[in-house]
Symmetry: C2
């Protein structure tokens, strides 16, 4: 291996990878902290946040679709969904074309909570993005995308397209 080759690969050393791993761990804590505080006020947890987020993002989604995205069992999701429906944050309608499906949407109250949570989480993300600059943000996202499982990468790409429409 030539000197320039090994130079070019210096960012792949064990030490560098370990730094990446630890950065990921510490940053994720910051990432969840602010919404966690809001959720705690209402006796909810992160699972509720995830459900609210993705129902808000894809209104009219089905339970099965949500299961794929969240990567939990239906029993687990059902428990959370049950409380959200009981608390009138999520609304269920029987599918029109296929009446086995349950179409999920946020109620006005659900949208309000979704905004609160998103605002809190986005504030920190915005600050980090601004301090790091656009180039860094592009890199941040590139690395994260490559770190996902292929199936999730596709999910992610699909959401991006939904965004652009």
């Amino acid at each position: 291996m030539s000197d320039s080759d090994s130079d070019a690969l210096l960012f792949l050393t064990d030490a560098q990878l370990r730094r990446g791993i630890e950065a990921m761990f510490f940053a994720y804590r910051g990432f969840t902290e602010d919404p966690d505080r809001i959720l705690a006020l209402r006796g909810y947890g992160r699972a509720h946040h995830r459900a609210i987020h993705f129902v808000g993002r894809m209104p009219g989604t089905t339970v099965t679709n949500l299961l794929d995205i969240l990567g939990v069992t239906k029993q687990s999701l059902n428990r959370i969904l049950r409380t959200l429906i009981a608390d009138d944050l999520v609304e269920v309608r029987i599918g029109e074309r296929d009446r086995r499906e349950r179409r999920l949407t946020l109620t006005p109250e659900g949208r309000a909570l979704e905004r609160d949570l998103a605002d809190a989480q986005q504030a920190r993300m915005r600050a980090a993005f601004r301090k790091a600059g656009p180039q860094a943000v592009a890199g941040f996202r590139a690395v994260l995308e490559h770190m996902m499982d292929p199936a999730l990468q596709r999910q992610f790409a699909a959401m991006r397209e939904r965004e652009e429409r």
Copy 2:
């Protein structure tokens, strides 16, 4: 605001921030997946991984120090440590200067598991780093650092210095 200003801030739109948030969520799943499989074989969870990782990184650390880094209650950590000690992965020595302290180190067996876990997690990180390139990796780390809480940022910087010695 001039056109060039608004152009420069395009990476801070709500849509971009949302993409960042979702990327973070999906990527973290990938990030934990591979070690999770190894841990499951021995009946351990992520909490065990975190403890093993940081004890390996800072041999002779105390319980309190570990608590600061992991951000859980001492009761929670204690339960995990108890199993790791019983399974002979972590060794405890009473502090020499202050006999209230418990100094933690990995046993040879603990180091072996630590390496297995690190190898699994690093493999994915290395692949992502390589595909994204050195510039992206720098950006990735810059954004993550700015996303941490200030206290954790300091912890992170301290570990980096330890690295460089």
